[in-house]
Each structure stands twice: as C-alpha cells, then as structure tokens.
C-alpha cells in the first residue's frame, strides 16, 4: 500500500482493458470503476499520513538525486484525492454516456489519462514529469478525436499541434537544466538552480512557462482549449477541466515556486492570470455553442487560479487550491449536464436549448445549480473560494485585480444566467420528456451534494488547504524531504 | 308660534323667492333665436339683474330655453337635456316656431307645437322676440314661480305616457334610456 499504486494500478488496468475487451464488453466498463474506487479509497486512507509527513517513494533502488522518486506530500495527497474522486464520478457518468464503440479504447485512454495526471502530481523527477505529461497529452489528444467526426479530428489536430510545442519546449528546458547541473531530481534542481547563469535561467523559465502554460490554458497559449473542450465527448470535457488542467497548473506552480520564486515572476503570473480571465470571459459572452462557452468559462477560472497563485502568499495559495477544487467539481457538473442537454436537443447551439427545462427537469436543474454555483453565489462552495481569493488578493494590496475579477464575474453571471433562463422560460410547454440515465443522474447528484456540503462547511476542505499551501510554498522542506528522507 | 302647516308655507315662500331670483338657463340655441340671447345677457339689457345667468350643464340648470324651431333630430337631444335637469325645472318656448311651427308650419321634419312634447311654462311669441320681450317672458316666469304655479315638471311626470306617445310618434328611431324617477 503505497503511492506507487496511484500510477501502477491504472497503468496496468489500461493495458489490461483491451485484452479483456476481447472477452466481455461489460467487464471493460466495470474495471475502471473498480480501479478508481480503489484509488480513491487509497488516496483517502493515505491522506492523513501524507499530510502529516511527506512519503517519498524511491523507484528501482537508486537513492535520490539519481533515482526517480515519488513525492507524496500534502498537496499531492490533496490533488490525487481530487483526481481520483472526480475520475470516479466521471466514470460513473460515462458508464451510460459512452455508448459508442469502441468503448474499451475510451476506457483505456481514460485510465492512461488518470495514470498520467496522478503521475504528474506525484513524481519528484522532472524528466519523469515530462513523461507523464506526454502520457496525459497523448491520451487527451486521442480522447478529443474519440467521436471520429470531422470537428473532433480538427480539434484534436490543433491540440496536437499546440501540445507538441509544449512538449518540445518543456523537453528543451529539461535538457538545458541537465546540461548545466547534471540532475533531474526536482528537489536537487531546486537546491542547485542558482548555479546556472542568469540568462540561461531566464531562458529555462520562459521555456517552462510556455511548455506548461499551454496545458494550463494561459493566454495566449490556450487556443487549443475551446475546440478540444467542445468537440470532445462531454465526460472528456469534464476530464480536461477537472483533471488535466489541474495537474498542469500544479506542475507549473510547483516548478516556479521551487526554482523561480521571485516577486517579478509572481507579478508576471498575476498579470497573465488577469489577462487570461478577462479575455476568456469576454469571449465566452457571445458564444453560440454551450460547450464552447463552458470551455471559455473554465479558461477564465484557470486565470483566476493563476492570479491567486501569483499573489504567492499563504492565504492566496490556499484560496487557489480551494478554487481548483470547486472548479473541478462544478465544471464537471456543468459538463455532465450540458452533455445530456446537447445530446437531447441534438444540437450544440445554445439557441437549441429553449424550454429544455420542461423536457429534462432534473438535468436542467443540475445545470442551473452549477451555473449559480460557478458564478460564486452563496450558499454554494464557489462563493467561499472566490471570497477567499478576493480577500487574499486585497490583502496583498492589489486592488486593481480585485476589481477586474469582480467585473469578469459580472460578465460570467450574464452569460450563464442567459442560458439558464433559456432553459426554463423561453418555451413554456414540455414537448417530449426524456429521462437521463440513472448513472448520469447519480454522478451529478454526488457532485451537487458535495458542492452544497462544502458550501455550508467550507472548513472540510479549507482545513487541509493550509498544509498544502505550505507544502507548495516551503521550498526548504521539499528539498529536505526530497533528497534525504 | 306657527303650526307646521304655516311653517311649511313660510319655507315654501322662501324657497320660491330663491328660485324666482336665481334662474340658471341652459340655452338650447336652435334656429335663429339664439342670436337674441347675447344682447339679452350682456350690457345692453343686463339680464343678470334678475339673477338670470347661463349654466354650463343641464345638471345645474333650472330653465330650458328653446329658441326657435325644433327639427325632429334636435327634439331627441332636447328631451334628453330636459330629462337630465333637476327639479324644479322650467321650459320657455321662445319664438313663434315653438308655438305653432311659425314659418315652418308645413315643414316635414320640424315639430309644430312644442307643448305636445315638453311641458312649456312660458311662451314668448314673436319672430324674433326682442330682448325686452325675452326679459318680460322671464319676469312672467318669475311671477309664476312666486305663486308656485310653474309646475311643468309635475305635469311632465303625471302625463308622462302622453308625452312619450307624442314623442315616439315623431321620433322614428326611438333609442332613449328610460326616465326613471
């Protein structure tokens, strides 16, 4: 029972699934569920340990800095829990949603994606990070094109194009680092980074920012996102919004806080975050397709998270984590609901949603709920994280970002509420009532309940955020644990 | 002390005195007679001396002044106006046309004798009667009122059927609201 399972088990499952697919289709559908259930159980059971004292696993006997280590600290614990839980819910949703053959491929890619993202979160080695990154991205590319239609293929190609930029630059950065200080262990790099001459370090920083910024949807590197989100099947959208991006942002922040933790870099992050937020929300305003709208909205949310990270104080990082958590849940809920709404209305257009509130009352209710939650209205969980971000940003004395964030959230409110009122009030009579499959409803129900509970007891999450934030901010501790445990 | 019969008599005297000295006329300016009213009211023959003045609506008026011939169409309006007035109310037929049709004696669409359709209290003959005549007519009416003999309204009530009959005879499209008491 060790963090390794987080990577090994889904990877193994991923390889197993096609073989089983030959035997029975049903089993294929079941297995990921079991795996994710196990992983969530594992993550929850490991959680207290990881939070108290980081577990450092050593792969294949070599001690760090030579061997590959897994660093299971508080933040890793938190993120793995988040990933596995959201993953489980997504599986629950996909169970009835992904009816299109070949399902085993879908689940295999899904498992690989889980593997990759948990790996990104866990690994303590930068090259290993790159590898997991590739796993994730490749899985993501192929999931984007899963529907095998024209738009999907196009979106996947764009994603691949931009993604290849990302991996190239990231790899280049790693190469330069290795060439200079002959190590790949993050902790080790963090301790030695100062030996690299300044210009080289700047170059590395730029390469990393671009390489990881692409995956974490930083403007202007996020061109792939809207297409990928909107063309991929809905659960995949949830996967992107809930898992991939979170992992990417985590890795970006981890590297920046470890190696380039200076005021200027943080300011740069804040500025980029604000730009990302504003531009994303503004472009979301007039979108025609609902899933594109959701995509832009989640880019905006990422901008918010980047701002909060960029402020770089302990409460702000805490707030950022909390926001990541809320966003993962709420955006998944929205994607789930939107998935069935689109599926039912038979068109991706928002204008086609008129009066669906009467045809699909429960799904529409979930969508409305998610909309209210993501705008940041009480008593939903979104309110607290937004409040905390604002408080922390203001505490750092940055009033301008506060105002801009609020303006952006007014815009957000406008376009979400437009959709909601379309759902309920644009057509009064129900045309044909169709049921959403139980598994989907259960998935959405779970998310809703969690959102409400967290909305009323934010401490449930916040309580664990403080150590996580410290883990991210406290470079010395990371080096200490990462190198000699 | 007076017994209440005499008391009521005294009250009647006061009432009649007041009525006599304040006659508000609603002048129904049909035909040519209307032209005689302005001189009657204005400075030359100042009729206000006798408390005579025009009133804006039949609700406030006491005297209905029919100046000249009445075509059948007009009769309808006149009847309506008369019935909207408050009692006691008086009608003055003004000019020969109201008496016997005057120069319209053989016209196909004027009424000849106003008395068959509305209870006239005082006629002023002449074509046209001069303002002096008009004023003397008013004074005659005042005398009648003082003696309590100007009971046109009462007559109209009592012989309503007769009046209605006559009215219906000339007015073909009879669409009048009932005159409820």
């Amino acid at each position: 029972m060790s963090p390794v399972h987080f990577i090994a088990v889904p990877l193994f499952a991923a390889f197993l699934i096609p073989l089983i697919g030959k035997v029975s289709k049903e089993l294929v559908k079941i297995i990921p569920g079991i795996v994710l259930l196990y992983l969530s159980y594992l993550s929850i059971s490991l959680f207290p340990i990881g939070v108290n004292r980081p577990i450092v696993e050593i792969i294949a006997g070599f001690n760090p800095p030579f061997g590959i280590t897994l660093y299971y600290g508080p933040i890793a614990a938190f993120l793995t829990t988040l990933i596995t839980l959201v993953g489980f819910v997504i599986w629950l949703y996909s169970y009835k949603f992904i009816i299109r053959e070949p399902t085993e491929k879908y689940y295999m890619l899904f498992m690989m994606l889980i593997t990759g993202s948990t790996g990104i979160v866990l690994t303590g080695d930068i090259f290993n990070l790159f590898v997991f990154f590739e796993i994730t991205s490749i899985a993501a590319y192929s999931l984007t094109a899963f529907l095998r239609d024209r738009d999907g293929a196009e979106a996947a190609f764009k994603y691949l194009l931009i993604g290849s930029f990302a991996s190239t630059f990231f790899l280049l950065a790693i190469a330069i680092i290795y060439a200079n200080i002959h190590t790949l262990n993050l902790a080790d790099i963090a301790s030695k980074i100062k030996d690299i001459p300044l210009t080289t370090r700047l170059f590395i920083l730029i390469l990393i920012i671009i390489g990881l910024g692409i995956e974490s949807e930083m403007f202007p590197l996020n061109g792939w996102a809207p297409d990928a989100y909107s063309q991929a099947p809905s659960p995949v959208g949830a996967v992107f919004g809930g898992i991939v991006v979170k992992a990417a942002i985590y890795s970006l922040m981890r590297i920046i806080f470890l190696m380039f933790h200076t005021a200027d870099v943080l300011h740069f992050l804040v500025v980029m975050g604000v730009i990302t937020l504003l531009i994303a929300e503004m472009s979301a305003m007039k979108q025609q397709q609902i899933k594109r709208m959701l995509a832009f909205s989640s880019i905006g949310q990422m901008g918010l998270v980047i701002i909060a990270f960029g402020v770089g104080t302990e409460p702000s990082v805490r707030a950022a984590m909390f926001q990541m958590f809320n966003h993962a849940l709420i955006k998944s809920l929205l994607f789930f609901a939107a998935g069935y709404l689109v599926f039912h209305s038979g068109s991706k257009k928002i204008s086609a949603l008129d009066g669906l509130g009467h045809d699909k009352p429960i799904t529409s209710f979930f969508f409305a709920f998610g909309a209210l939650a993501i705008i940041g209205l009480p008593p939903f969980s979104g309110f607290w994280s937004k409040l905390y971000i604002l408080l922390s940003v203001a505490d750092a004395g940055l009033m301008v970002p506060v105002v801009l964030i609020l303006i952006s959230s007014i815009i957000e409110a406008v376009y979400y509420l437009r959709v909601v009122s379309r759902l309920y009030f644009y057509k009064e009579e129900a045309t044909d009532v169709r049921r959403t499959p139980v598994s989907g409803l259960v998935a959405m129900g779970i998310l809703t309940v969690v959102i409400l509970i967290v909305g009323f007891y934010p401490n449930l999450i916040l309580h664990w955020m403080t150590p996580a934030a410290n883990d991210l901010l406290d470079k010395a501790a990371y080096i200490k644990f990462g190198l000699f445990h | 002390m007076y017994n209440d019969k005499e008391a009521s008599k005294i009250v009647d005297i006061i009432k009649n005195f007041a009525r006599k000295h304040s006659l508000w006329i609603v002048a129904y300016g049909t035909g040519c007679g209307a032209i005689e009213l302005p001189p009657t009211m204005t400075s030359r023959y100042d009729a206000e001396r006798f408390g005579i003045r025009g009133s804006a609506t039949p609700r406030q008026a006491d005297v209905l002044l029919i100046t000249g011939y009445l075509s059948v169409k007009t009769l309808k309006r006149v009847i309506r106006t008369y019935e909207q007035m408050q009692e006691p109310k008086y009608v003055i037929g003004f000019g020969s046309c109201t008496i016997n049709g005057g120069m319209y004696w053989d016209s196909y669409n004027t009424i000849k004798a106003l008395d068959r359709y509305l209870p006239v209290d005082v006629y002023i003959n002449g074509c046209m009667p001069r303002p002096e005549a008009v004023i003397s007519g008013f004074i005659k009416l005042q005398e009648l009122i003082a003696q309590g003999k100007a009971d046109g309204a009462k007559r109209y009530q009592e012989n309503l059927e007769w009046y209605r009959e006559n009215q219906r005879k000339v007015i073909k499209n009879w669409r009048m609201p009932e005159y409820n008491w």
């Binding site: - | 005195f17 007041a18 100042d46 206000e48 006798f50 609506t57 406030q60 009692e87 006691p88």
Partner: protein, 302 residues
C-alpha cells in the same frame, strides 16, 4: 384637548361668519364685474339666493358614493382650514385650534378638499370632469411651489411654523411681513391668484371649454354644498393671508377691510384678463413667482 365655552362658541360661529362673509364677497365680485362691464349687475346677496335655490332642488342625482362624498370632502377641508387659522388676533373665541396645527399642516389640509372633490368628479365618468381635474392638479403643482417658497422664507426668517407666533411677531404695522419680506409676499400673492382660480388661471372650470369641468355633473344639493364650501374656503384663505402678511386683525372691521383689499387683487385681475392655457399658466408660476420666491429665500439666508 380641553373643552371650554369659548372653543365651542368659536366652533359654532366661525363657519357661519365665514359663510356669510364669503357669500357676500362672492356677490360683490359679481356686482363689481358687472360694473366693470358697464352693467347694473345682480343684487349683492345673489350668491346666497343661488345657494338656497340649489339646496331647495327637489330631485338630485349622483353616480355613486364618491360623487356623493366629494363635496363633503371639500367642505370638510375648508371648515378644518378655517378652524386652524386664528381668525381674530388673540381673541379667545376665534383662534380655534390654531395652536394645534401649523403652516405645513395648513398647506396639506388645503389640498385635501380639492383632492376629495377630484375623486368625486372622477366617479361621475364625465370626460369634462376628468379633464378639469387633470388641469387643476397640473396647475396645483404650478402654484404650490412659489407659495411654499414664500412660506419657507418666512418660517426661516421668524424661526416658527405656527401662525400665532407670526401674528405675535407683527405687532406693529411697520413689522408686517409684507414690509419685512416683500418678495415672499409677491411670490405668495401671485400663487394666491392661482389658488383662487379666477382668470387668467381659471383653466379648471372653463365653462366655454369643458362645461365647468369637475362640477359639471353636480347639481342641486351637491352643487350647493360646493358653493358653500367655496365661500367658506375663500374666507379662510383670505384670513390666512391676512394673518401671514398683513399682521392679522384684532377686530372684525379691520379683518373685513384687510380681507377685502386682498380679495380685490384676484377679482380685479380676473375681470380684465383672458384665460391662460394650462401649460402657459404652469410656466407662468414657474417664472416670476418662482424668481420672487428664490429672491425671498436668498434675502433670508444672507
């Protein structure tokens, strides 16, 4: 409030006197008008005869309870106004409740009647009545503003809102407020023209246009009641102005003289002027009277 005989006497006699004086003034108006138009004119008690005649009408009609109550509202307002104005300066009988109310109360109770009247006229369903009411209310907004300005100026100047205090202030004729703040007087008297509703401000009851407007459906006892309340109200307003500007009156003779002089202002203007259109009269009230009012206030401030 303590009941004593002087109060009761005042309550009984004030309205009667007010009625008689008001009616006589009404008659005088007609006589004077006649004289100006080179006529002989009616007897001076003509209005009294009219009112008695109207009461003695045998049949009456109404269009519903609001029309029935409209004139009652009117007379309530006028009598109440009268009761809250000290008719005779520091006499125990004729300063009825003037200590229990003040100018602002008077401002409001004065519109009370016209609003009640408007409700009554409204129920008749006669378009002319509605038009008259709309004109009247519009004009009300016109002349209330300068009037209030004048009153505010005076209130601030003498630090009181009670009429008796104002009377106490102007104990000698040099201290009359008409001399102390003439601009306030100008504003108020111009507003007074509108208040009395004689030409050129008689847009409300414009007999030739809208068949006497609001009262056009009122006849018999209702009209009589309206005329009664109008007589009383005229007197009340005159007394109010006398108290505010002309230092009140300590006996009836002075009261009659002062009120008569005041009364002649609207009457004489009314005789010689044609009628304004409604918006013209509103604009008039918002031009010169407003200007005088502002001057009055500024004079007080600096």
């Amino acid at each position: 409030m303590e009941i004593n005989w002087s109060t009761i006497l005042g309550i009984i006699f004030t309205p009667i006197i007010a009625f008689i004086v008001g009616v006589t003034y009404g008659g005088l108006t007609r006589v004077i008008t006649a004289r100006v138009q080179n006529r002989y004119g009616p007897p001076i008690f003509q209005n009294l005869l009219d009112i008695i005649k109207l009461y003695s009408k045998e049949s009456n009609i109404n269009h519903g309870v609001m029309q029935h109550l409209g004139p009652v509202f009117a007379i309530t307002a006028s009598v109440t106004t009268l009761f809250f104005v000290p008719v005779i300066k520091d006499s125990t009988v004729f300063t009825n409740f003037s200590f229990h109310g003040d100018l602002i109360f008077l401002l409001y109770i004065m519109v009370f009647g016209s609003l009640g009247m408007a409700l009554g006229a409204g129920q008749t369903g006669n378009p002319n009545s509605a038009i008259g009411v709309s004109r009247g209310l519009s004009q009300l907004v016109g002349y209330e503003v300068p009037f209030v300005m004048a009153l505010v100026a005076i209130m601030i100047q003498f630090q009181t809102t009670n009429l008796n205090d104002l009377l106490a202030v102007q104990d000698h004729f040099t201290k009359w407020i008409i001399f102390q703040s003439p601009f306030a007087f100008l504003a108020a008297i111009l507003a007074f023209l509108g208040m009395m509703g004689y030409a050129p401000f008689d847009v409300v009851i414009a007999p030739a246009e809208i068949a006497s407007g609001p009262p056009s459906e009122f006849g018999g006892k209702y009209l009589g009641l309206m005329l009664t309340s109008r007589s009383i109200f005229t007197f009340a307003k005159l007394v109010l102005f006398t108290d505010i500007f002309l230092g009140g009156a300590s006996d009836f003779i002075t009261l009659l003289i002062k009120t008569f002089i005041l009364y002649m202002i609207p009457v004489l203007t009314g005789i010689v002027f044609p009628r304004y259109r409604t918006e013209q009269s509103i604009r008039f009230f918002w031009s010169w009277p407003l200007f005088f009012g502002i001057i009055a206030i500024l004079v007080v401030v600096f």
